[in-house]
């Protein structure tokens, strides 16, 4: 009985642990065990948060990063679905191109960001294109996997009821592959977010990623830490929402 209560309290204790670590760090720096010039006081990091909102326009930057992420993910989802359907419908094309898509999915595309800079200029377009390019291949693979996993008998039911190709698509293929498609959407958003923020930081342009670079160049340590914490928080919230959505969808099955 008490064991289960411990289990229930575990997530809260996790939060508590992080708070305790921050407090310990605060104490360690105050006691000069840790160099205050490399690691800022946790209290100062917290204190710098309002400054980020007022002086550094965090909300506007957040909107920009989110906009770029959604643009890249939406494009990847639409294009990935289309490619996925084409590859599923024509098995020869699938045999021919799926290995290349797998290579593309495994390749560290973000490393080629200098190349994208040359291709698309140093602007938001480059950021969106890199996000799109990184998210596209995983979405294609998931879509094809989803369609290929549909049980043959469900398609036979459709044929025996003489469904038109459009009816087969909307009434059987899409609902049957929906869990995979949703996983594809989640992958698209995750890959897009990572790459958008990463590239913003690397090329010093745009939203939240750039803010971190800027603050660190000004040697504003508490601000840098606070901004990093903010980005982590935003992405964690983002993943929590996606997970909840996916679980809701999965429960009916």
């Amino acid at each position: 009985m008490s064991a289960t209560r411990w289990q229930q309290a575990a997530p809260a204790l996790g939060v508590l642990l992080i708070v305790a670590l921050a407090a310990l760090l605060q104490f360690a720096i105050r006691a000069d065990w840790v160099d205050g010039y490399t690691v800022p006081l946790p209290s100062e990091v917290l204190a710098s948060l309002p400054r980020l909102f007022v002086e550094e326009h965090v909300l506007a930057r957040f909107a920009m990063t989110a906009g770029e992420t959604f643009a890249a993910a939406t494009m990847a989802l639409v294009a990935g679905l289309a490619f996925g359907i084409v590859l599923y419908r024509w098995p020869r094309l699938r045999a021919a191109f799926e290995p290349w898509v797998a290579v593309l999915a495994a390749a560290p595309l973000v490393l080629a960001y200098p190349l994208f800079l040359v291709l698309f200029g140093r602007g938001p377009l480059t950021i969106v294109v890199i996000g799109f390019a990184s998210a596209l291949a995983p979405v294609i693979l998931k879509t094809v996997e989803g369609f290929a996993a549909i049980r043959q008998v469900l398609l036979q039911v459709g044929r025996s009821m003489r469904l038109s190709p459009a009816q087969e698509f909307s009434l059987i293929l899409v609902p049957a592959a929906l869990p995979h498609i949703f996983t594809g959407l989640r992958l698209a958003l995750v890959f897009a977010l990572i790459n958008v923020v990463g590239v913003e930081f690397l090329i010093n342009l745009g939203g939240l990623g750039q803010l971190i670079g800027e603050l660190s160049e000004r040697y504003d340590l508490p601000g840098t830490w606070a901004a990093i914490g903010l980005v982590v928080l935003v992405s964690v919230l983002f993943f929590v929402v996606l997970d909840a959505g996916e679980r809701r969808l999965g429960r009916r099955r």
């Binding site: 997530p11 690691v39 340590l221």
Partner: protein, 252 residues
């Protein structure tokens, strides 16, 4: 096999021809899409450049240190989380959510802590590979067949013996998978860090080629890097298959 080989070959040739046509026509991305022979000579130039190997050695060393440190940390954290339901419920959620966040944003902080030299790149790689390794080790511990654990306990194996004789061998697949994921993200972490701020390493060379607008060399560097990563991946796979194979033979 031959039935899939032919379409793959055709697809590869088609892609190469399309690239070449785009490069030669100069209609799209002129000068940025060099013809295949230029890329080939770029690859050749990279491979024939002794400076490249010196920089590759630096990146390789940073990567190796990052993998050892991050891997050890990930292994310990994964074993702890996988072994304790309490720890797992308290902290694993954080690990899962932190896993996919962009690690490169930690780089400024790592520079503060470990300097502008190789130290911060190693730290970058270590932080990157910590997460996938910890996550797959934790899942691997939980996935070990309970029957094997009962066998171990019934033979009164000690804690360390349980770990080395039962858990680790039984977890070969997730361990290899974690190592491979970790290698991939550590490589990206190290290279990205080098492109952002450094004066040596392959990432630095890529940035240099970009600033000189030497497209064939940039393609050459990227291709050689990807080939290097793919070779390590294949070698890891082979090793895992060999290990598993010897185990199957031993069981007979």
């Amino acid at each position: 096999m031959s039935q899939t080989l032919l379409p793959r070959l055709v697809a590869t040739i088609l892609l190469l021809v399309a690239w070449q046509a785009m490069a030669l026509s100069g209609l799209l991305f002129r000068d940025v899409v060099p013809p295949l022979q230029a890329i080939a000579s770029g690859v050749g130039g990279v491979l024939g450049d002794s400076g490249f190997y010196a920089n590759l050695a630096i990146t390789g060393f940073e990567l190796a240190v990052a993998l050892v440190l991050g891997g050890a940390g990930g292994l310990i954290a994964g074993l702890a989380l996988g072994g304790s339901r309490f720890l797992s419920q308290a902290l694993e959620r954080w690990l899962n959510y932190l896993g996919p966040t962009p690690k490169i944003i930690l780089f400024p902080v790592l520079i503060m802590m470990f300097g502008v030299g190789a130290g911060s790149k190693m730290a970058m790689g270590a932080v990157s590979c910590f997460f996938p390794i910890a996550i797959s080790v934790a899942a691997g511990v939980r996935g070990v067949d309970p029957k094997l654990l009962q066998v171990g306990r019934s033979l009164r194996a000690g804690r360390l013996q349980m770990l080395t004789k039962i858990y680790l061998p039984a977890m070969l697949a997730p361990l290899v998978n974690g190592a491979r994921l970790g290698f991939g993200v550590a490589l990206i972490g190290v290279l990205l860090a080098e492109t952002k701020l450094s004066n040596q390493g392959v990432g630095f060379l890529i940035m240099q080629a970009y600033q000189r607008f030497d497209m064939p060399r940039m393609y050459g560097l990227l291709l050689v890097t990807v080939a290097f990563a793919a070779a390590v991946n294949i070698a890891t796979d082979r090793l895992a298959i060999r290990l598993r194979g010897s185990r199957v033979r031993a069981n007979k």
